[in-house]
Each structure stands twice: as C-alpha cells, then as structure tokens.
C-alpha cells in the first residue's frame, strides 16, 4: 500500500498496524524534538516508569543503535544515564558545589540528577559542567566519600507541546528513536477509517454549507456544535450500532450500578458455561421499585423527621420481590433451573408445552431484572446470584472524546440533520425550504439505517436455507 500521499489516510502502514513511528537521528545533542503524526493524540504525564503518572501515558519512547534492537528510554537507560565514582571527599549539601569524580566522563550533562547506585538516594542536580571530572551541582543531601553515582535525567523526555516530544537526554548521531503507542491505544485506533470525527463533521459543515451565497449565509459555530452533538445523540439512540457492553458479575446483593455513560439498555443476558447468552427479562410488568417509601401514620399521612423531611421505611414491595422464588412465576420444574444449556435434553422435557394456560411472558427461566431509578441500580432475581452477565447498552455518543465520531455510512445523514436543525430555527427561511430539508434529513437517515443494519446477501441466503423455500443465487 502506498505511503500517505494526499488522500484521507495520513498514517503510514507501520503507524496504523504496529503503532510505531520511527526517526533517524541526524545530529547529536540534547533537547531534540520529534513530532508525532499519529491520528491519535499523544497523552503524556511522566517519562519515569517508577512514577504513578507514567501509566497515564498512551505511548512509550524507544531508542536503538540499529533500528533492530530497541530499548525503552527511561531515566536509567544507557541513553539517558551514566555512572561515576566520587573521590575521597564528601560534598555538600549546598548550592553550586563542585563535585569531582575519579574518571573522565563526558556523558554527564547539566540537568542530570545524582543518584546513589546502591541506595537510590537522590543527592541533587548537576547545574553546569566544569570539566570531564568536575561538575557544579545543587546538592540537597551530602554525598559521602567514594560514592558510586548514577547521573540520570529524572525526565529523559517530555511532551512540552501537544504531540511534540522533547528528548532531554543526549542522542547520538546515526541512531534511531521510536514512538510506540501502547496496545490499548493502538486497539482504539484500529478501524477508525470507518468513522468520521465529529470535529471534522463540524469543520466540513462550516466550509461546505455556510457562507455568502448559500442557504446558510452565517451561523455561530457553537450552534453547529450543538446541533452536531444533538444529532449524534439522536442517532445513537436508534440508528447507530450499539457498541457498548460490559461483562459483569452479579454479587449476592443482586444489585449492580448503572454504567456511567448509560442511556438505555439493549439487552441483559447471563452467560452459561458454553458462553451462550440467555436474555434476562425485565420485570416491569410484574413489579417495580417504588421511588418513595414514606412512613405513614394511621391516617395514611406521611410523617416527617426533625428536619421536616419525610421519613422513609423499607420497601415491602422490594422485600417481597427479593424473597420470591422465580419458579412460582414461571411454573418451571426444579430441574429445569439446574441446567440452562440450550442444547440440554432431559427427562422433564416431555412436560414442556403441555402445561396449558401459562403466560408466555412469565414462562421463562432466565431470571428477571428491574431498574431502581432512585438508587441507579439494576436489580436481579436470586437465581442470578454469582452469575456472569453481559450488559449491552446504548450511550449518547458524547460521553468520551473517543465516542465523538459518526460512521461514514451515516455522515451524510448528520449533515442533513444539522442543515435542517439550523434552517428550521432561523428567521426568514421559507417554510418550503425547511420542509425540503426535513424530507432530505428523513431520507438520508433512512438510508443510514439501512446501511448500518448490515444486511448481507450471503447471510440472508444462509438463513433462508432453513426455510421451506431455498433462495437461489
């Protein structure tokens, strides 16, 4: 495949597949900068793996003499550190203390920390170089006589400007440096070509649809941002693929907190030992979690505490529901609950279908769930305790930066949504124009739904082969 050459793809194959961008060092020295051209912005907190913030980075920096064997650039890596032993004098503490080491070392640089090789104690920082054995240092702790020191950069590299890496350590000419995205970050960027970032949609819209001589001569950018985000929300509810799901274990409390970015559920299902999902049914037709449970007096009037707020009591509805045996609702035999494998065949199978008068809605053995809106929890019936469930849900596409994107199959529909939203809320726009774009929005949204429903001819044919009529193609 060609290297990026002006098309929509801006990453090289290596950047996309391996998450790596390599640089050749053409001049030796400290403070060299390297600009990342990944589509993903670099996230940086600290370049020392010993610090907690290091885990917030979404990439690592490696160096290599030959672009074959790579070593991570850390404070203690050979590229960023060197060693030396002090003479028979103790030094410091104090500012501008001249420290002498017994052997020449031209790799010691201003800005390096002086670290005891044995104990890891940090004595201070080199402020300037006097000669190959003498350095002026700011010392906070006294250096004992004949101490083995490691001179190292506490931060061998940093991101001082977005996506521009500054390497504090000295790099040698003819060597290589590599930005390597972390595995999770790389995973998040794979497949991104099927999406358009919402920021791009907004910019494209302002360029293509707004200006003198167009239907929208001028518009506030914040208006476009608002309608784009609202459109993404609306599309997330019924057009876009639901991509959010979580694998969760149900605790003995039978209660799980609603995810942070949850808008509505698609399905809750428990997982059997074969990994097959069994849909858990909502109990909304059977029971509900009361929002208020006020304590009442004999006349039925809520009673208040000393702060004039209603007193609350434990819900009897909840208690009754939690205590019930689901078989009392479904009418199932005991054994039918011991094995939910869909391929299971057992003695009691013969009884299935022979118990007339059952309500299909309640005749299931996969358990029940309900949502406690007040506490923000999913609550499950007791047979689901300690089971693993999968919660599939939809969000609104606005919760995280990574979510702010629209499938390319629905991009045109989003433009149509924004145009219609702006025209329909603008003064002096003829009604027929608004109606035209209302229809256009509707048509394009329908198109997007069809495209995203992902109907494939081969799959339909395979499904239809189980029917009485075969589709031939």
């Amino acid at each position: 495949m060609p290297i990026p050459n002006g098309g929509l793809i801006t990453e090289t194959n290596r950047q996309y597949y391996a998450g790596a961008q390599q640089f050749y060092i053409t001049s030796a020295g400290v403070g060299q900068t390297f600009t990342s051209t990944f589509d993903t912005n670099l996230v940086f907190d600290n370049s020392d793996p010993a610090s907690n913030g290091y885990n917030l980075n979404n990439f690592k920096i490696f160096t290599s003499p030959d672009a074959n064997v790579w070593a991570e650039l850390t404070p203690t890596s050979p590229t960023a550190s060197t060693t030396g032993t002090t003479d028979n004098n103790a030094y410091g503490p104090g500012a501008a203390v001249t420290v002498t080491i017994i052997a020449n070392n031209t790799n010691v640089l201003a800005g390096m920390s002086l670290v005891d090789v044995s104990t890891g104690a940090v004595y201070g920082t080199v402020t300037s170089i006097t000669g190959p054995t003498q350095f002026v240092c700011n010392l906070t702790i006294q250096i004992p006589v004949s101490t083995n020191l490691r001179f190292q950069f506490s931060s061998p590299w940093a991101v001082l400007s977005p996506n521009i890496i500054t390497v504090n350590a000295s790099l040698s000419i003819g060597t290589y440096l590599k930005i390597q995205l972390n595995e999770n970050t790389l995973g998040e960027s794979l497949g991104n070509y099927s999406y358009t970032r919402l920021n791009d949609v907004i910019d494209n819209f302002l360029i293509a649809y707004v200006g003198a001589g167009k239907l929208i001569p001028s518009v506030k950018r914040t208006d476009v941002i608002f309608h784009a985000r609202r459109g993404l929300q609306e599309f997330s509810y019924d057009t876009l693929k639901s991509i959010k799901s979580a694998e969760l274990g149900i605790p003995v409390s039978l209660s799980l907190q609603i995810p942070q970015d949850y808008v509505n559920y698609v399905r809750l299902a428990w997982v059997d030992k074969q990994g097959v999902l069994h849909t858990i049914q909502p109990a909304e037709k059977l029971t509900s979690r009361p929002y208020y449970t006020p304590a009442q007096d004999d006349a039925g009037i809520p009673t208040q505490d000393s702060n004039s707020n209603n007193l609350e009591v434990t819900s009897k509805v909840n208690a009754a529901w939690d205590a019930n045996d689901p078989r009392d609702i479904s009418g199932a035999y005991t054994e039918q609950y011991s094995e939910a494998n869909i391929y299971w065949q057992g003695y009691y199978n013969g009884a299935l279908g022979q118990r007339y008068g059952l309500q299909p809605q309640t005749s299931q053995k996969n358990g029940w769930f309900e949502i406690d809106e007040r506490k923000g929890t999913f609550n499950f019936t007791s047979e689901l305790a300690n089971k693993v469930i999968v919660l599939e849900y939809i969000s609104d596409g606005n919760s995280y930066d990574l979510d702010l994107r629209i499938p390319k199959l629905a991009e045109e529909a989003l433009y149509a949504h924004i145009i219609h939203a702006i025209l329909s809320t603008s003064a002096n726009v003829q009604e027929y124009v608004v109606r035209r774009f209302k229809q256009e929005r509707s048509a394009k949204l329908r198109n997007a739904k069809i495209r995203l429903s992902n109907l494939k001819l081969d799959q339909m044919i395979q499904t239809m082969r189980g029917k009485s009529k075969w589709l031939k193609y």
């Binding site: 051209t37 991101v159 907004i202 001589g213």
Partner: protein, 305 residues
C-alpha cells in the same frame, strides 16, 4: 504598491491653480490627505458588506468582492498576543508603519527638532531613541522636539524610530499548540458566555475555543489556554506626508522623508478628487466643491451599481 504622494500633491495643485483659484500648503495637504485616506479606507468595509450580499461575476478582475479584498489585503496582517492577568492583549504594532529621523549632536546642544516624524506619529506610536546605536532612555519628546537629558558631546549619531500603534480592526483569532491543528476562536458576547460555559454540549474546549473581546483585550475560554494565541487584524494606513526642504522660499519635495498614500493604486483618482473637494472648502470655492463632489459620487455609483 502605493500612490506617490508627490504625484497627488502636484495634481491637486495643478487643478487648484488653474485660473488662479488658490493654493494648498504642504501642511494643509498632509492633513487633508490623512483625512481622505482614512475616509476611503473605512468605506472599504461598508462596501464589502454591501457587495458580499450581491451575486458576483466569476470573470477575472470583475468580481467586486475580490477587488475590494485586494484593496483591503494591503492592510491585512497577523500578530502575536501576550497573556497577562487572565487576558490576551492585542498586537499593537505590525512594524509596517515606521518613521525615522537621523541627526548628529552638536556640543552642549540638548534640543533637536525632529523633522521627518509628525507629532501625531510620535504621540501615537512607540518611539525608540538610539545614541550611537545604543538605545537610550535619557531623553524626552515634546511635540516634534527631542530633548536629551544631559548636554552631549559633539558628533554622536541620534537615530529616532517610531513604530505606529496601527491596530485598526480585529479579524480572526487563532490558537495553535504544538503539532495540533490550528483552531479558529469564535467571538462571543459576554451575555452568551455563561450559557456556553454552563452547557456541557457547547462548553468551549481547546478544539473549539471562544473569546470575549472587551477593553481591547481577548478573554479566551477555556482558560487553560494561556499561550499560542495569534490575531489577524487590519492595520491603519500610515499618514501620508509630503515632506520638503526649503530652497529659498520654495518647497522642494523630499522623497526620502515623505510617506506615500498606502491605498491601492486604483484609488489615485478618488484621492485627488476628494482632496480637491476639501481644498474647495479651504479656498472657499464652491465650483471646485461641486465638481469634485459630482465626480466622486459618479465614481462611487459606478463601483456599486
């Protein structure tokens, strides 16, 4: 590209002097020239607003919006802003508008008249005085007179340079940080600001920052942005100066110390006509006023119809 100030002056004098109507001194010409240049300059923006609402032809040289933009482009510039106390100050000087004066000290003479920089320029710009190439602060300027604080020796080179504060009209404010794409800031009113900040959907971000323009300062949101802000703006044209040396009783044009009209060459006839219009007022000749006004009106009508 500029309109030669001497050509304009001579043309004005030629028309004005016909039939011995009157005379315009260089001082009068300079003041009227400044007035006329600013008048035409300010009209560009109103004209652009009018023309942008009219469908234009795509033919070369005939698109009025493009022609106007060409005239304005002479004054378009970009400058850095500086952050202090929560706001960015505007770029005040483009550096395009400079005037300088050079002389040599005489022994024990402290006061020197500045002949090539107007009092207006000195008052409105940033002036630096160099003594033998070294910037000095031991001086004061009153009107167009430079007074050194102490009596100098002879033969010290004095170099005075004034950079005009030429910020005129704010254009686009942009934000750039590292290798991220450069972003345009949206200008909002303070009345909108608090609604924006409260709305999670439209709250300003580093991708889509906004600014409030008050007291000639830019208040940028989100407030984490404290550098990397640049502003495009229109600078003011330099005041035209027809400078001279005296030769007997005659004014002899000095091109080295004169400042040309900065407007587009296409404006030469209008500048002459408008100066004549004001000259008619100066010499109290209604015929000139009438003729010049008619010519100006006809030209403007042609440009807009």
């Amino acid at each position: 590209m500029a309109i030669n100030v001497n050509t304009v002056y001579q043309t004005v004098l030629l028309i004005l002097n016909k039939e011995q109507r009157g005379y315009m001194t260089p001082v009068e010409f300079n003041k009227i020239g400044t007035q006329v240049q600013l008048e035409i300059f300010e009209r560009y923006f109103e004209d652009l607003n009018q023309q942008i609402r009219v469908p234009q032809t795509d033919t070369d040289y005939a698109d009025r919006v493009v022609n106007l933009d060409e005239k304005i482009s002479i004054f378009k510039t970009i400058g850095n802003t500086t952050y202090a106390n929560g706001a960015f100050s505007l770029p005040a000087e483009s550096g395009s508008s400079q005037a300088s004066f050079t002389t040599v000290t005489e022994v024990n003479i402290q006061a020197y008249p500045i002949t090539t920089i107007t009092a207006n320029q000195l008052a409105s710009g940033t002036t630096t005085v160099y003594l033998d190439g070294v910037a000095s602060t031991a001086y004061s300027i009153n009107g167009t007179t430079l007074t050194l604080n102490s009596a100098p020796a002879a033969g010290i080179d004095i170099f005075v340079v004034t950079t005009q504060d030429d910020f005129y009209r704010l254009g686009t404010v942009i934000y750039s940080a590292g290798a991220l794409p450069t972003q345009e800031l949206e200008r909002i009113d303070r009345g909108d600001l608090y609604h924006l900040l409260s709305s999670k959907l439209t709250a300003p971000t580093t991708t889509y920052p906004v600014y409030v323009y008050e007291r000639q300062k830019l208040f940028v949101y989100p407030q984490t942005i404290q550098s990397g802000i640049e502003a495009t703006y229109i600078r003011k044209p330099m005041d035209p100066v027809w400078n001279f040396t005296l030769s007997g009783n005659a004014y002899v044009y000095n091109p080295d110390t004169s400042i040309n009209f900065e407007l587009h060459d296409a404006e030469q006839t209008e500048i002459v006509l408008k100066i004549l219009l004001y000259a008619g007022v100066v010499v109290k000749d209604p015929t000139i006023i009438q003729v010049a006004a008619q010519q100006v009106a006809q030209e403007q009508q042609n440009q807009k119809s």
